[in-house]
Every structure is written in C-alpha cells, then in structure tokens.
C-alpha cells in the first residue's frame, strides 16, 4: 500500500488508524464471543448457562452434557464421517477425470459440455431437488446413505475448479509423454495428478467442509434415526419439547471441532479455493 503520510496531517492519520484497530477488535470480538460461548456452555450446568453475567470458565465444569449425547450421537458422528469421506473421495475422482477430459483432451463438443457444467453451478439446489428426489425414489434409494453419496459426488463446481487448474499445466508435458509412448491414463495419474496437489487439496477441503456441514440434502433423503448425520441430529433438538441448551451446545461443539482443525491446518487451501473460484471465474 502507498502511505499517505504526505497528504494528511499525522494526527488525523493516527486517529484513522485507531478507528481501524477498534473496528477490527470489535468485529473479532463479535465473532469469537458466540464461539467461546459454545465451548464454555458445553461444560456448564443448565443453571449456570443462563446465569448473568456470563462466566467464560465454568464454575462447576461438568461432562453431563456430553453424557446426554451418548445414546445417539456416536452413531451420527460415524455416519457423518462415513458419508463426508465417501463424497469427498468420489468428488476428487470424478472432478479430476472430467477435468482432464475437459482440459487436456481434444474432442468435438468439449466447449458445450464445459458450458453445461458451468451454468449448472449458478442454479440453486432447491430448483432441482424435487425431480432429483423422484429419481432417487424410483431407484429405491430413499432413506439410504447411498442416495446422499450418489447425488452429491458429481460436482460441477469442483470439475470447474480442477479444469481451470489443469489448463495451466503446459500441453508440452503431455505431448512429450505421448511421444514416449505413454497412455492417457498414465499421463493423468503419473504426471497431471502429482502436479495438481494444490487444487486437489483445495477441492478435498472445500468438499469435506461442505458435506460435513450439509443439512438440506440429508434432511431430504434421510429419515431413519440410525442413518442420520450430525447436522440432522443437531436439528432434532429444534423440534423437541424440553429444550436443554447444555447438550445442544455440546453437540454444536462436536460439529464445529473437525472443521476448525481443518481450517487451522489448511487455511491456505481454503482461501485458495475461495479466491480461485472468484478471480479466475
């Protein structure tokens, strides 16, 4: 940034800087406060949760809230991991193979198919959820994990992201490999994929985050208690009559922890995904 010291009096510049820091601190506080509240309330008794002023460190820390989740939540957590990992793995597979066909192979109709993928990104899920539901029901897949996995594993957005990255890999690498007699499958798996670790990491993380957090799709396709995912289990609290906030906060904490860990470990790739979709698009 260009400093504007010369055009402004130092006092005004200093004051502006103070306002900037105050805004940053205020908003960071507004963001962290609810999150800290989730953590601390998870370990509080129901009575202490509602006591005011709020104590951030629980007076009588208890695991009671987590014990209240023991009946159903281990199942939900398992289901969520199973579904999220399956979808993420399949998305990486389908997006990279299709990305390869769209970026590195020459065939008639390539531009049209790419356009189909791109324009479908702009269409909200709610627009086509009803016919998709009818298809799943006719395949007798309603209320199965397979239904969730099938409808979610084909990602137009991911294909777009990967294809854009593959376009930056020079065609000469592929031509050189071909001259040496390599097949396309070999080129894809041994040359293109190893060069594409950043975009694969980005896709993996974005897709894990998305499907770990997804409520809507699971709400449509899963009805049995033993097949529910973590967000669905959390949503069950909403329709219960006796609302206890302790177990709700404990369950929310469980839902938040994996993505926060992911965020801390791989923030770079998440930001790249956001920016990559934004700027190159």
């Amino acid at each position: 940034m260009i400093s504007s010291k010369f055009s402004m009096q130092p006092r005004r510049a200093f004051l502006k800087n103070v306002i900037r820091y105050l805004l940053l601190i205020l908003f960071c506080y507004l963001i962290l406060f609810p999150l800290v509240l989730i953590i601390s309330s998870s370990f509080k008794t129901e009575k202490e949760i509602f006591s005011y002023p709020i104590s951030l460190i629980p007076e009588n820390a208890t695991l009671k809230n987590f014990r209240a989740l023991m009946e159903n939540f281990p199942r939900y957590i398992f289901n969520s991991f199973k579904i999220t990992i399956s979808i993420t793995a399949l998305q990486v597979l389908t997006a990279t193979t299709a990305g390869y066909a769209l970026a590195k192979l020459k065939w008639p109709g390539r531009g049209f198919i790419f356009l189909l993928y791109v324009s479908s990104i702009m269409i909200p899920f709610q627009v086509y959820i009803i016919p998709q539901f009818i298809i799943i029901r006719s395949l007798n897949l309603y209320d199965t994990h397979l239904a969730l996995i099938l409808v979610s594993s084909f990602t137009a957005f991911g294909t777009f992201l990967v294809r854009q990255f593959f376009m930056t890999i020079p065609d000469s690498y592929i031509e050189a490999a071909k001259i040496n007699g390599a097949h396309h499958f070999y080129i894809y798996s041994k040359i293109v994929l190893p060069l594409s670790k950043p975009v694969i990491a980005t896709l993996t993380i974005l897709s894990f985050r998305y499907w770990w957090n997804d409520l809507f799709t699971a709400l449509i396709y899963i009805i049995s208690k033993e097949r529910k995912t973590l967000p669905l289990g959390l949503a069950d609290f909403v329709s219960e009559y006796d609302v206890y906030y302790g177990p709700q906060m404990a369950a929310s904490l469980i839902a938040i922890v994996p993505v926060v860990v992911l965020f801390i470990l791989a923030q770079k790739y998440i930001v790249q995904g956001v920016v990559g979709s934004g700027i190159k698009g």
Binding site: A101, Q126, I130, F154, F216, F263
Partner: protein, 301 residues
C-alpha cells in the same frame, strides 16, 4: 494433421475420462434441472399411477396464494439486505486489512473463520444468544437500561435476526475475495493519484472501486445466489420443519418449496415454485449482466 484413427482414439479416451462424472451429472443434476419444468405442469404427489398433466394449474394456484406472495416478499427483503451488508462489511474489512496492520493474519483468520463452520451449530448458538427472556444479548441490553428485543420470537424482528446471523457467518467470504482483488490493482495508479494530490476518498472512488469492479460484480452474483439458497437458518432458528417464523415472517421461498414438496407432498406445486425461483434468479442475473457495462471496468491495468 491427425489421422482419423488417432482422433478416434482421443475421443474414446475422452469419453472414458468424462464418463464417471458426466453420467452422475446428467442423472442427478442435468435431468432434474430440465424436468423441474415438466413436474411443475403435473399434479404429481408421490405416485406415478395417478399422475396427470394439469397445464398451468399449479402456477395459477401459486399466483393466487397470498402465502406465496408473502414468501416472495420475505425472500426479496432477505436477499437484498443480506447481500448489501455482506458486501459492505466484506469491502470495509478488505480495505482495512489491505494496509499495514499489526496482526493482520490473525485478524483475517478470525473474520473468515465463521465461513467454514456448520451453519446448524452456529444457529444453535444464536438461538441461545437471542433467547427472548434469558439470553445473553437481552441481558446485556437490559444491563445498559435498554429495552430487550424479542429477536426470533416476534414477527417484526425474526427476519432481521436471521439476516444478522447470516451476515455474521458469511461476510468474511467476500472479504477474502475483495482482499485478493485489491492486490491485483496496479500500485502505480495510487502513485499517480498521490502526485495529483488526490484525497483518500477520491482514491477510493476513482481507483479502488473501478479497479475492483469486476470482483464486486462477481461477488454480487455469488452473494445473490447464496442468499436465495438460504435454508438452514430459517429451519433451525424459526421452528424446524413446520416453522417459517412467527406469522410466516421468515418463510423464504427455499423453505416454502421444501415444505410444499417434502412435507405436504404437493410436489407439482413445489416444482412450480422452484421454477419461479429459477426464473427470478435468471432475471436478476441477466439484468446484472446488462447493467454491468455502466459500472464494471475490465480495462484498468
């Protein structure tokens, strides 16, 4: 020139590579999108045996239903205000963080953090924070001798509360996009402006905003689509599947489609609503593309 044999091989390979993705894409995304229109002209309610084409009947029902118009109204208020606040906050914090700021990385990470979190869990936390009688927010207001606000429990404040939570969770996304956009603006332009004696405000209006305009335009489209999709917040914070807020004050179209299609089994009716949703988004996007020529500049280097 390639020999035909070689070209054929390339096409076969392409089909093989495309197939895993394209088969699923066609079956679960493309066909559903196209048949949305088809279903909306039927009285389908779960059984193919009784299905009939009913022409524009569902659309007549929709347009004569006051609940639908209320839902359109709620949706538009929600989309307009959340997009404005998200982009405004995202833009402001991008400008702030684009300067020499001590602890920049930490500030940026914290502001972006809510984007990755489960909106269900976030809504649970706000359900507690906004509790009308014993919630921390109202306790805080009362300690300042201010009137407590009914938040999610009253028809006049429920939608506002949802907008607050939605913006809280997502403005960091646009901040990140704007931040990387700001870094593409040529610093020489600011130097020239400095030499000309331009004020901070003039630099913002004459250099930063035009330079960022393609990114702002893109963000507007993304933010609009995301706002039209919003469902979790209404579901979790205003009453679950039979909800929609006090006096339907938070019944956005996405939620109404869900209820009609999957709870009341008026599938044809719900499909007609989803076609309307699609047309609204399409119309807004087309208008934006037309309108962009007047304010988006791609030629600033």
């Amino acid at each position: 020139m390639k020999r035909p044999q070689q070209l054929n091989n390339e096409i076969n390979t392409a089909i093989l590579f495309l197939l895993p993705s394209f088969a699923g894409f066609v079956l679960f995304i493309l066909i559903p999108i196209l048949s949305s229109f088809l279903v909306s002209f039927t009285n389908y309610s779960g059984s193919f045996a009784k299905i009939q084409f009913v022409g524009f009947r569902n659309y007549e029902l929709i347009f004569s239903n006051t609940k639908f118009w209320k839902s359109i109204y709620v949706t538009l208020i929600f989309v307009a205000s959340s997009v404005v606040f998200q982009l405004f906050l995202g833009f402001c914090f991008a400008l702030i963080l684009n300067r020499k700021i001590f602890g920049k990385v930490i500030f940026r990470s914290i502001l972006f953090l809510p984007v990755v979190l489960s909106s269900v869990a976030v809504c649970m936390a706000f359900l507690f924070l906004f509790h009308p009688t014993a919630g921390p927010v109202n306790n805080f207001l009362m300690s300042l001798n201010l009137e407590p606000v009914p938040w999610l429990a009253h028809k006049d404040t429920a939608l506002m509360s949802i907008i607050i939570v939605f913006v809280w969770q997502s403005f960091g996304y646009y901040m990140i996009i704007f931040l990387s956009g700001l870094q593409t603006i040529n610093p020489a332009l600011y130097e020239v402006a400095d030499i000309d004696g331009a004020s901070e405000f003039q630099k913002l209006v004459k250099v930063t905003i035009p330079g960022l305009s393609p990114v702002i335009f893109f963000s507007m489209i993304i933010a609009l689509i995301n706002a039209f999709k919003m469902f979790d917040h209404v579901f979790i914070m205003t009453g679950g599947q039979y909800g929609g807020g006090p006096a339907d004050s938070t019944r956005v179209l996405a939620f109404d489609i869900y209820q009609n299609g999957f709870l009341f089994w008026q599938i044809g009716y719900g499909a007609a609503e989803s076609v309307v949703l699609f047309l609204i988004i399409l119309a807004i996007t087309v208008i934006q593309y037309r309108f962009q020529r007047s304010w988006v500049s791609y030629d600033i280097v």
